[in-house]
């Protein structure tokens, strides 16, 4: 038994080292003064020089703003669509087209990005032609097309999260509310949404992150002047390592790290409170 504990401990230790050493090295080198990213300039480091350069880089800052807008819009829309899809799949029982809906909503999880990107672009090209033919006017490609593409692939994640959250509750509370005369929309807003709120929140964050992070789909669907942050990073990094990117990465890791830790703490407290209330309800009922 003791040897197995030892084996498990070292598996975890090595695994976490593998996951975190690259990130830590990236953070360390963002404070390096040398332009040769991997040579540590001990005399002049640590320095915040690259952070200053980063915030003066208009290209990166503009792209970051574009990315934030796209990610916020697509996460919000994806949460609405994904919650509906998850609700339908988890609660509505059998109906015609259910397996098609379930297939359509899980396939984007594993679909290679190049396929999604290419097919969305070809759709938009076809739509542009139709618009031009019918109205003599057409939308250009840009933030809107990227957002629609992102909604489509991120809503799959929201659907899965919401669906599995709903699957872990039975529908007795919703039924009780219905029996007491509440309308379906009211049941949804007063019972179902509070129950799945953690799933909705984490679905939104997940969708935001995925959209914020995506290079390939954005590259296919972007137009002139709609460069997202990952697109800018990708083209910069292809030419070699850049210390500004290290600084950017450090900021992002810190924000995300803080966010994840805080939300994990919050979720744990919310879960505990919910359990306690349920127990109270049982004890009082």
């Amino acid at each position: 038994m003791k040897s197995r504990r030892w084996f498990q401990k070292s598996a975890l230790l090595l695994g976490f080292a593998f996951l975190y050493i690259p990130i830590i090295m990236m953070i360390v080198y963002s404070f390096n003064n040398s332009r040769l990213v991997t040579v540590w300039d001990a005399a002049n480091s640590p320095t915040l020089a690259w952070y200053g350069k980063l915030f003066q880089n208009d290209q990166i800052m503009d792209a970051a703003w574009v990315s934030i807008q796209i990610a916020a819009m697509s996460a919000t829309a994806a949460v609405i669509l994904g919650t509906l899809a998850g609700l339908v799949l988890a609660r509505f029982g059998p109906f015609r087209g259910r397996s098609l809906l379930s297939g359509m909503s899980t396939a984007p999880l594993v679909m290679p990005e190049v396929i999604t990107g290419l097919s969305m672009l070809l759709l938009f090209v076809a739509l542009e032609q139709l618009f031009e033919h019918w109205f003599g006017w057409s939308f250009g490609r840009g933030m809107i097309t990227i957002t629609i593409a992102h909604i489509t692939f991120t809503m799959a994640y929201v659907t899965v999260v919401v669906q599995s959250r709903l699957a872990s509750f039975d529908d007795s509370m919703e039924e009780a509310a219905m029996d007491l005369g509440a309308k379906p929309a009211k049941v949804f807003m007063k019972i179902t949404v509070p129950l799945i709120l953690p799933a909705i929140l984490s679905g939104w964050l997940l969708a935001f992150t995925l959209s914020w992070d995506d290079v390939v789909i954005a590259q296919f669907n972007a137009g002139p002047g709609s460069n997202t942050l990952p697109m800018v990073i990708f083209s910069k990094v292809r030419l070699g390592v850049s210390p500004e990117v290290n600084a950017l990465a450090t900021i992002m890791v810190l924000i995300v790290g803080a966010g994840v830790v805080l939300s994990a703490l919050y979720m744990r407290r919310a879960e505990k409170r919910r359990k306690r209330e349920e127990q109270m309800a049982v004890a009082n009922g």
């Binding site: 598996a11 994904g82 087209g97 809906l101 984007p108 379906p184 929309a185 992002m252």
Partner: protein, 335 residues
């Protein structure tokens, strides 16, 4: 529920927070239609229709367009650069022109054949390494104290929330000739001259394993965590050693987790674009890179569409297996 028109107006307006909105929507909608939805309002049809239509328009129709264009003839000078498959002639007849040139090219051109084989090889090897690293970790987490389990899980998920692109980028700094690993090994005196690790298959394996490891660990963990410990006790009571009881009890029980995790890594890895572009070989392309080059550089839309179609056909079986396991998992969670 039958017909809420029978209700007094104030009751109608207060039906849930969505009430007034719906009411305005229906009051000004075409009469027959609003009556239809009202009388069926568990709202069901509408609620089903919204995500359904969205996915139909933005997920299924695009594939049909890709399929359509893959049979078109490349016309580099027109805009868009292909001759449409379907065309209405002047006399009202419908002309159908299917061209298989893109597909025959894909299957015979050595560049493409080797890209296919290489992509599958890279994805398979990376999946195997993911499993070899991920399984012990998932196992260790599932067997650890419940109090630390959530912390471990958070540590697994945390990198996933940070930018995928930047995590791949981090490896450039480690793997370069004058990178951290080479400098460290030379300082140790293990090697005299730097190892070439960038722009090799090895770098791509590392990149994929590193980026997709959480996708392997999480399904494995959620499977391993559910195992009934009494089975292992029974095995040890019957005289099985730890290795034997692992091989005979734990491993067979965890096959659904292994399959789900492996597919979650393998399928996207075949079509991986970013990792091989940043870390991979320049003399041997993966299929996604070929697709993108064909589209953006040669502007050969039919051929790019044909590559996408073939890739989808190759992946459709693994995708369906994945969905099968996904549905089983959800059904099990329901019980």
């Amino acid at each position: 529920m039958a017909n809420s028109r029978a209700l007094p107006a104030h009751a109608r307006l207060r039906s849930g927070r969505l009430g007034p909105l719906w009411d305005l929507f229906f009051r000004f909608g075409p009469l027959g239609w609003s009556h239809y939805i009202r009388s069926h309002w568990a709202g069901q049809r509408l609620v089903i229709a919204i995500p359904f239509l969205w996915l139909l328009v933005f997920f299924v129709v695009p594939f049909l367009i890709v399929l359509n264009i893959s049979f078109a003839e490349w016309a580099p000078l027109s805009r868009p650069p292909y001759e449409p498959v379907l065309r209405w002639l002047e006399d009202g007849a419908l002309q159908v022109k299917l061209v298989f040139a893109s597909y025959t090219y894909l299957l015979h051109e050595p560049l493409y054949v080797s890209a296919w084989l290489y992509s599958i090889k890279v994805a398979a090897i990376s999946t195997l390494f993911c499993l070899l690293i991920g399984y012990p970790m998932a196992y260790a987490i599932a067997r650890s104290e419940p109090s630390v389990r959530n912390i471990y899980l958070m540590l697994i998920i945390l990198p996933f929330w940070t930018s995928f692109l930047l995590r791949v980028y981090a490896w450039i700094g480690l793997l370069k000739n004058d990178g951290v690993i080479n400098q460290f090994l030379m300082w140790l005196g293990v090697i005299d001259s730097p190892l070439t690790m960038m722009n090799t298959s090895f770098a791509v394996y590392i990149g994929i394993v590193y980026s997709y490891l959480p996708f392997m660990i999480l399904p494995l963990y959620s499977n391993l965590e559910k195992h009934d410990q009494t089975l292992l006790e029974a095995a040890s009571d019957l005289g099985a050693g730890p290795v034997r009881s692992f091989l005979r009890v734990t491993l067979p029980l965890s096959i659904p987790g292994i399959v789900a995790g492996s597919l979650l890594v393998f399928i996207p890895a075949v079509g991986e674009y970013v990792i091989p572009s940043l870390l991979g070989r320049t003399d041997q392309l993966m299929i996604a890179k070929l697709l993108a080059d064909e589209f953006f550089m040669n502007r050969d839309w039919p051929r790019a569409s044909a590559v996408a179609t073939v890739m989808l056909l190759l992946l459709i079986v693994p995708i369906m297996i994945f969905q099968h396991f996904q549905n089983k998992e959800l059904a099990a969670a329901k019980k």
